[in-house]
Symmetry: C2
Subunit: 466 residues, 2 copies
């Protein structure tokens, strides 16, 4: 037999509780926290697990109750009917943000015809939700930019980078169609300054130092202040947010990572003997020394991803809104893999774990919070034998690329191989990635999805009637 | 108001229907089909999808309703408390078969102390279920062997390979403790011949040609016949099985794969100009020509994995038993990745898809059939840009390993990189893999599991009370 509470007010309280926890009623705020581990494919997750907790243990990420495989899709800008098999952060984040598959390098714009694509951040903001961005990269970098700006090329981060500008490695940039003078929205930094995001936190201060387009002296940062952004530049500043709109810039470009290899070492090339260089059946090879992960002396007082996450959650949840969309990027899993620094990637994945812990804690207090963790694309790093089993055959077998042999805290040696090229920066890879979500994700994800499917899920949760 | 059928016999029919479809009642046969894609990590699945259906489409595998990430675990034989970060098919299949984490090279035996471990195939056979094995490798190869035999080293496949024998690449094998004369169970082929498996199909006929240990003339194959196995050697033979126990051997060792690259080409090394060899900032590089996948002329009349799967399902389901456990291995995803032949791996994954189709069709008619698809470990192949985007910087950027540039049917070019070493065979990698399952798997798998967890799930489904 059912027992009813004897006092009417208790019954009312229970009814109120049922209402407030019911998604179906639609009266409660709804929030989405999308955490993107840039380049966080299955090798990166496994390597971080092996180092952070040991191969027989599990990460916090592993404990999320929902998972799916995610197709990463890209098309050719010259012929958008043709598939491209390796994505970059620009096109993949654009798909996550807009549901549209586009071409590498593009930020919130369509392949071929260069149309601006409506992003989930813009849509929910327009519908009365809050919207925020947190990244360990520049806030103008490809992943954050794709949620809050529209431009034909990711390198056009500030007014000085819009035309005839030289980007990384000597590539010449041209975003002249996106100049305000030509009817465009301006550089990525200017677009952030011109808009009304509730909170944008990360690196990239240097992109706000340039004079804004059409101005004599006013920098992009001053433009943001005129547009009522409170500017924050330290972890301490995040504790005393008073403004309605916050722009936090904690370093000139990508924020420093937490860890490096012993004495700053990264993966290195094996050294074959002269005989081995002449004939692969002869001679021997000297592998790089093992290394440990140690604190990066550049890290200093950089606010952690967790500190930025908690500041953003606090700010967004205290405002009058229908709830919020918050994108959090752990950027340097990718960036340190490009640079063949596995300890950098592992420390960055540890930061993602800490940020996820804060998100789960927030969701515990705010049950209508959908948490999604995913990656944008694969990366070069591979876990391979730290010393080849084929050495048993009496020949010297080793990677043609670079290898780091990492001493893990559990007492074994983990080999991380980087061998997609011999350039200054490794390549992305074209693998499926994974999605992880809290229990609310069960209604929105089957076992297999795509980056466009993730956009649809976020939209379905926050804006079910649209 | 509930409506009851008016005629008693209709009620009885409905009740009978409920009974026969109810797992909870325990009166119905239960079956597990475990499909292992050897080396089938996320790169292999993505590459196969790109080629077989196109990057914007999905595979049959993608349609399975249940997925999980799977930790692949291994330990050091000299100190089983220490983790090893890259597994082989022997230790990983042993964990899938027994739930025990062991060391690379071991078949159904424990790390360090070399104890025989009870396998799921043995357990269910002992409990009145059928048990079968299907593989495109030799039936004595590591993956199938781990379910149906116990030996300290995977290379001890036949009586001639037990001691002072030279395995692949010159490694000297010693399984003398496993000789029958020393109280052991003999070689893997002899253990198969000595036991009572319902059906064992694959390659590896040469391992049954040796004289059995302790015999003057009797080969292992003759030993199997004495032990009442019907021997089958062709696809036609599979259509007319009459025996109670079947041993099908369709080739001397690994069965030929379906596809090869144009004119038998595999991945090749880029050719840098002399200037490029002197200084990476100078000169140019010639990448290997693109290739297509074409029929492998060696394939001939080899029975497909689908044909073997259907024969095994037919045989196992027609017998008087409580149901069955069937392990199906698509072996050459791994073997062709070792050999840098992406078309071989892709054609083999197509075979896995066809086998899965047969399994799903069987499960449709036999609802208490749990289908699990997984991989045993990662492999070398990586999808990378077929031509590096960094070439835009005016330098020649290319892999230090081998690359295949594959023309896909949808009209793009897919780059597959092999660069874990420069030996005759690439390395395995140490990544997590995925699990896919039909809806019955929902009760047995969370979002994250391990290979031991897969063993526990199979046991939990077939032998819930043990």
């Amino acid at each position: 037999m059912l027992k009813f509470p004897r006092k009417p007010f208790a019954l009312a309280a229970i009814a109120a509780g049922l209402l407030s926890s019911s998604i179906a009623m639609g009266t409660e705020k709804r929030n989405v926290i999308l955490i993107i581990g840039d380049g966080m494919d299955s090798h990166q997750i496994t390597a971080a697990r092996n180092y952070l907790v040991g191969a027989q243990q599990t990460l916090l990420l592993d404990s999320l109750p929902v998972t799916a495989t995610v197709q990463v899709q890209a098309v050719d800008d010259r012929d958008p009917s043709k598939s491209v098999y390796v994505a970059d952060s620009a096109n993949s984040a654009t798909t996550l943000a807009t549901g549209v598959i586009t071409s590498p390098g593009r930020i919130g714009t369509s392949a071929g015809d260069d149309k601006d694509l409506s992003t989930i951040a813009e849509q929910v903001k327009g519908a009365g939700f809050g919207a925020g961005i947190v990244s360990t990269a520049s806030v103008t970098d490809a992943t954050p930019a794709s949620f809050i700006s529209h431009i034909s090329l990711r390198f056009c981060e500030n007014p000085d980078m819009m035309k005839e500008a030289e980007a990384l490695g000597g590539i010449i940039v041209d975003c002249s169609d996106d100049l305000k003078a030509n009817g465009g929205l301006g550089s990525i930094a200017e677009q952030i300054a011109d808009n009304n995001w509730d909170i944008v936190l990360g690196g990239g201060a240097k992109h706000f130092e340039s004079v804004a387009e059409g101005q004599q002296k006013q920098t992009v940062l001053e433009q943001a202040q005129v547009n009522a952004y409170q500017i924050v530049t330290s972890a301490e500043g995040l504790q005393t947010i008073t403004g309605d709109k916050v722009l936090g810039l904690f370093g000139p470009s990508t924020l420093p990572v937490r860890w490096q290899g012993t004495d700053g070492r990264t993966a290195e090339e094996p050294s074959p003997s002269i005989l081995r260089q002449i004939d692969w059946r002869l001679g021997s090879v000297t592998l790089p020394d093992t290394m440990k992960c140690e604190d990066n002396p550049q890290y200093g007082a950089t606010p952690s991803l967790k500190v930025m996450t908690e500041a953003a959650l606090s700010h967004l949840s205290q405002k009058q809104n229908r709830g919020f969309f918050l994108m959090i990027e752990s950027a340097s899993i990718d960036k340190e893999s490009h640079l063949r620094n596995p300890c950098g990637s592992i420390g960055e994945l540890q930061q993602l774990e800490e940020s996820l812990q804060s998100a789960l804690s927030f969701a515990n207090d705010n049950p209508n919070t959908l948490i999604i963790v995913t990656a944008d694309h694969g990366q070069a790093a591979q876990i391979i034998p730290e010393s080849s089993p084929y050495n048993a055959f009496g020949v010297a077998v080793y990677t043609p690329g670079h290898i780091a042999r990492i001493e893990t805290p559990e007492g074994s040696i983990m080999g991380i191989n980087y061998a997609t090229n011999d350039f200054l920066m490794e390549e992305h890879t074209g693998t499926d990635v994974s999605l992880f979500a809290n229990a609310l994700g069960r209604s929105f994800f089957g076992a297999h999805t795509s980056q466009a499917g993730i956009y649809q899920a976020i939209k379905g949760f926050l804006l079910p009637s649209q």
